[in-house]
Each structure stands twice: as structure tokens, then as C-alpha cells.
């Protein structure tokens, strides 16, 4: 029973961080129909930025976080302007390859500046163990859960009640119609990319605190695919639920079955979902028949 609770708690916390990474992904797809294969690298860059500010420059953590988020906004806008804007209207393979090229570029820059050796990070969020009923968790994981929940809630509210959020949904639904109603589509794209970079940077900062910084953080980018396919590519509640389910399944499979099966189980689920219900739990179905 103890193992079960322990696995559940660690699965839920991992799942929420996955959900955060997936959220940035979904935001971009929702607004601009672009699949961002560089999401993991956004996360990586965010983690290294906060590492640089806290450890190398010695700033206090709130200031560091503010700078990191500012840089993330700049990164998002730059990427949208320089890479994705010229490719509007190109076939899907071009866009996929452009974001893959971007991921390679970002990873190379991170390695050039900080090298390839993983580094530990002095925790800026307290990480002492906390007893939670029969299970023990570290406090930073609880913080990660709280932050993830708050951010996900904020975005749900943002998309429902704020003008920019509604404009983003309009652009996602039909770009031409949105444009004719006076929504600036290019501005919305820039918004989507910078928000997505910010969310990724937050997830990166949380991960840096929990596991330290290293180039392997970028592998989260590929891990996001099962989550978003399960939840539906254009659904924010789907990202949350998908993240939790995948996190839990990986945790249980790793704990009860072992054999390294937890590394691949998410992709097996992914294939299964694509065969049975390709638009996921909450994704919008676009049916096309002959």
C-alpha cells in the first residue's frame, strides 16, 4: 500500500510537470496549427537561464525568475518572427522540419555556453521531505504541483474571459474570419509563442530545482507527444488530464513491472490512441471522408 501511494504521488507530480510542458505545446498548436518539436529545448533554455542568473550571477531567485521569463518572451517572439512567420502557408513537413532545425540550433547554443555536463542546482524552492499521510514527498515537488495547478487555472480563465484569450481562440478556429473581425493574427501568433516559451521556462525552472540542469532535460520535448495526443492536440484540459494519466501510468509501470518498460509505455499508448481515437480525449475532430 505504501508503494502504491508513493508511486501515485510521484506519478502525479511528474504528470503535472509534463502537463505544463504540454500546455506550451497546445497553446502554439491552438493558435497557429504549428507543431513545435522544439518545446523540450524551450524548457532546456529556461532551466539554463535560471541556473545562470541564480548560480553564475548570484541574483536572488525572484529577480532571476523575472529575468528568465523576460528572456523567454523575447525568445518566443524572435522564433515566431524569424522562423515561423516566413513559413506561413508552407506544407506541414516544412514546418515540422523548421522546428526540428530550431531545436538543434537551441541545443547547440546551450552546449556552447554551458557545456554538456549535467550540473546540480542549489534549490531555490525548499526541498525538505514532507510527510503526506503514509507517503513522503519533497517539498519542491509539492511546490511544482501548486504552481502547475495555478498556471493551468490561470490559462483556463484567460481563454474564457480575457480579450486576448478569446482572440487567440478565434484565430485558432478560423484565421480569415478572425482577421476580418479585426483581430491581428500576427500579433496573436507572437503572443502564443511568447506565452508558450514562458510556460516552458517555468516548467524548466521547476525541473532544474528538482533534478538539476543538463542537456537531457530536452528529452521532455518528445515525452510531450503522448500527453498531447492522449488529451487532444488543441485542448488545455486535455493537456492536464493527459499529463496526469501518462505520469501515473509511467510511475506504476516503472514501479510494478520494471524492465525499463516505463521508458516506452507512453509511446505504446500513443500508437494505440492514434489507431482508436486519433483526436484524443478532448481534441476537436476534423472528419474528412471520401
Amino acid at each position: 500500500m505504501d508503494t502504491f501511494i508513493h508511486l501515485t504521488v510521484s506519478g502525479l507530480t511528474n504528470g503535472l510537470i509534463l502537463a505544463l510542458a504540454a500546455l506550451g505545446f497546445v497553446l502554439i498548436y491552438k493558435a497557429s496549427d504549428v507543431i513545435n518539436f522544439a518545446q523540450g529545448e524551450f524548457l532546456l533554455v529556461g532551466a539554463y537561464f535560471i541556473y545562470a542568473f541564480i548560480v553564475q550571477f548570484g541574483f536572488p531567485w525572484p529577480l532571476s525568475l523575472a529575468f528568465t521569463l523576460l528572456l523567454a518572451v523575447i525568445l518566443g517572439v524572435l522564433v515566431e518572427r524569424l522562423v515561423l512567420r516566413p513559413l506561413i502557408g508552407e506544407p506541414i513537413i516544412s514546418i515540422i522540419m523548421a522546428t526540428i532545425g530550431l531545436s538543434s540550433l537551441l541545443r547547440a547554443f546551450v552546449s556552447m555556453i554551458w557545456g554538456n555536463v549535467p550540473r546540480s542546482m542549489p534549490p531555490f524552492i525548499p526541498s525538505q521531505p514532507v510527510r503526506l499521510g503514509p507517503a513522503t514527498v519533497t517539498a519542491d515537488r509539492l511546490w511544482a504541483v501548486a504552481i502547475a495547478v495555478v498556471i493551468l487555472a490561470l490559462f483556463t480563465v484567460f481563454f474564457r474571459f480575457y480579450k486576448e484569450g478569446i482572440a487567440m481562440r478565434a484565430v485558432a478556429d478560423d484565421q480569415q474570419a478572425a482577421m476580418s473581425m479585426g483581430v491581428s493574427v500576427s500579433k496573436i501568433f507572437a503572443w502564443a509563442w511568447s506565452i508558450s516559451a514562458v510556460v516552458a521556462a517555468i516548467a524548466g525552472a521547476l525541473l532544474a530545482n528538482i533534478v538539476g540542469v543538463g542537456p537531457e532535460l530536452a528529452s521532455f520535448g518528445l515525452h510531450v507527444f503522448p500527453v498531447v495526443i492522449l488529451g487532444g492536440l488543441d485542448s488545455i484540459p486535455g493537456a492536464l488530464l493527459g499529463g496526469l494519466i501518462i505520469g501515473l501510468i509511467e510511475s506504476y509501470v516503472g514501479g510494478y513491472i520494471g524492465l525499463g518498460l516505463h521508458q516506452v509505455i507512453a509511446f505504446v499508448i500513443l500508437v494505440f490512441i492514434l489507431m482508436v481515437k486519433p483526436y484524443g480525449l478532448f481534441g476537436q475532430e476534423r472528419i474528412e471522408r471520401v
Binding site: I35, V83, P86, L87, E90, I92, I93, S94, I96, M97, A98, I100, G101, L102, S103, S104, L105, L106, R107, A108, F109, S111, M112, L222, F225, P226, I229, L259, G260, Q263, V264, F267, V268, L270, V271, L274, M275, P278, E288, V290
Partner: protein, 347 residues
Amino acid sequence: MDSGVFFTTYQADMALRRTPLQKLRLALFILFVLVFPFIGNNYGVFLMNQIGIATIGALGLNLLVGYTGQISLGQGAFLAVGAYTAGVLVTKLGVPWYVTLLIAPLFTAFVGAVFGIPSLRLKGLYLAIATLAAQEIIIWIVTHWDSVTGGVHALVVPPPMLFGVPINRDRYFYWLIWGTVGFTALTIANLLRTHYGRAFVAIRDHDIAAEIMGIDIFKYKVLAFALSSFYVGLAGALIAHWRSIVTWERFTIDVSIVYLAMIIIGGLGSISGSLFGAAFMTLLPAVINNVGMAFKDVFPRLEEWIPYLQQALFGLIIILFLIVEPRGLHKFWQDLKNYFKLWPFSY
């Protein structure tokens, strides 16, 4: 002066090489390939072997992505299937190496067809993600099936023997590799002239229109996956015999991406483009490496930066090509030919 290319017979119209100049260029290229091992140094022959294998793989991938329009991120895994099948057949079952050059591609074609089945319902982005899953699953199986593949340890393949002589040098292998390149290019060029090839192109251009014209989309999509994987498996089997060591690190998702980059930079839906792309992506890291080593005395940190520079330039070149010339090196080559065709009166 030419105002166009005109044919008076159907044979001339359907020929693979239609003008004297095209024939001359092909003859020059074949001559170069035939002479190269006698004039090139060891490093050059090694690079040419790499280019040859990359060309076979890129041609196979281009058949699927460039001609049929099905995006695949599973190239690396299919290479692994070919390489491990060949390696396991030789080491565990004692099958002669030339037989594995047939069995390994056939088995890879079967695996490719199985992972092509989701294309019944999926296209574009979703298919790309499904092939990404195929990549991860196949590599996981390879690294965890210890009793057959040796798991994370390398599988050592003995050098192939021909008439009692081991073919263990790059110069001997050169002939096998470039012979296979010729076979691949010829069969694919001919395949594209049959109704199968035309069906592939029709599916790429508009799948619904293709289905209305009586093309069984599912059958042809799975066939495209199988045929493409056949050639990829052939490239994998050659890798196993040539490098004589098979490890999973050679077949990761990064390899899939490099192959996709080859056909995009070379030109989607073009046979010569696959060769250009394969040569470009093989020579780029080699050139960066050599330039970096040459300047390492001037900039002391350059040497440790070489792998990162390779990675950065790789990403940058993909993005630049997509933005500046999405149709790749093949288009440059065509523009160049057109320019000189009417030179000096290019308008």
C-alpha cells in the same frame, strides 16, 4: 537555338535520360564513381562509402516522403531493423552475408508495412507522430531484447567473404555500396514510371482526388511504406556489413532527422536530389571538422566546440533552406541548367 525539347517517338519521350546532355552528365558521373577508388585517398573513399549508404537510405525515404507525401520520423529505426536483421542472421544463424542483403530488406519492408497501417486513418502531423512512436518502440525493443540483439552492447559482425577473400577494406566495400546505389536509383526511377509510381504521386498531390480516380489509397500507402523500408533495410544491412559493429546509438531519432534533412535539402521528390542531399549532409560535418581542426591553434576553444558547431549549422541550414529555397539543391541545379541553356540570352 533550342526553344524546347521535342520528341518524335514514344520511346524517346519515356526514356529515363532524354537529351544528349543528360546522357553525357550521367556518363561523366558514372565515370567519376568508377575512377574514384583509384585516385582518391583512404579518407575520400571512406566518405564516398558513407555518401553511398546515405544515398540509398535517402532514396528510400524520398519514395515515401517526397513521392507519396507520408511523413516518416522512423527512418533511424528502420535502418536499425535492417542492420540488426543482417547482423543477427550472420552471427547467430550463420546465413551467408549476400543472402542477408535480401532477407534483411524484406523483413524491414514487413516491419515498415506494419507501422504503415496507421496511415489508413492518419495523415500529416498525426502520421509523423505515429512514426515517431515507431522509432521509440523499435529502438526500445532493440536495446532490451538482449538474447537476440545483444541489448545495449554492440553486435560484432564478421567481415563478408567473397571467394575466400574477406571484404574488410573500404576500397573493396566501395564497389558493393555504389553498385547497390546504382541498383536502387535504377529501380526507383523505373518504379516511378509504372502505374504504382503514378499512384504514389497522385496520393501525395491530393488523396481524396486520388481515391475518386480509383486508387486504393490504403493499399498504395502501405505499399509505399513497405517499398521505402525495403531500401532503408538494404542501407541498414550494408551498414552492418561495412562497419562490422552494430550498436543502437547509430539509429536514434537524430538519424531519422538527418535523413529527413537530406531529402529536404536535396529536394523532395527527386532522385538526383537524394544524392545531392546525402552528399551535402555527409560532407557538412566532415568539412566543419576539418576546418575546425585547421584553425584550432588560432582559436584554442574551437576544438571542443566542433560538435556543437556541427549541430548549430545543421539546424541553421535546415531553417535557411526551408525559408529561402524549399525545393532544395535540386532546384538550384535546375535553375543553373536553365540559365546556361539559353545563355547569354537568359530572357
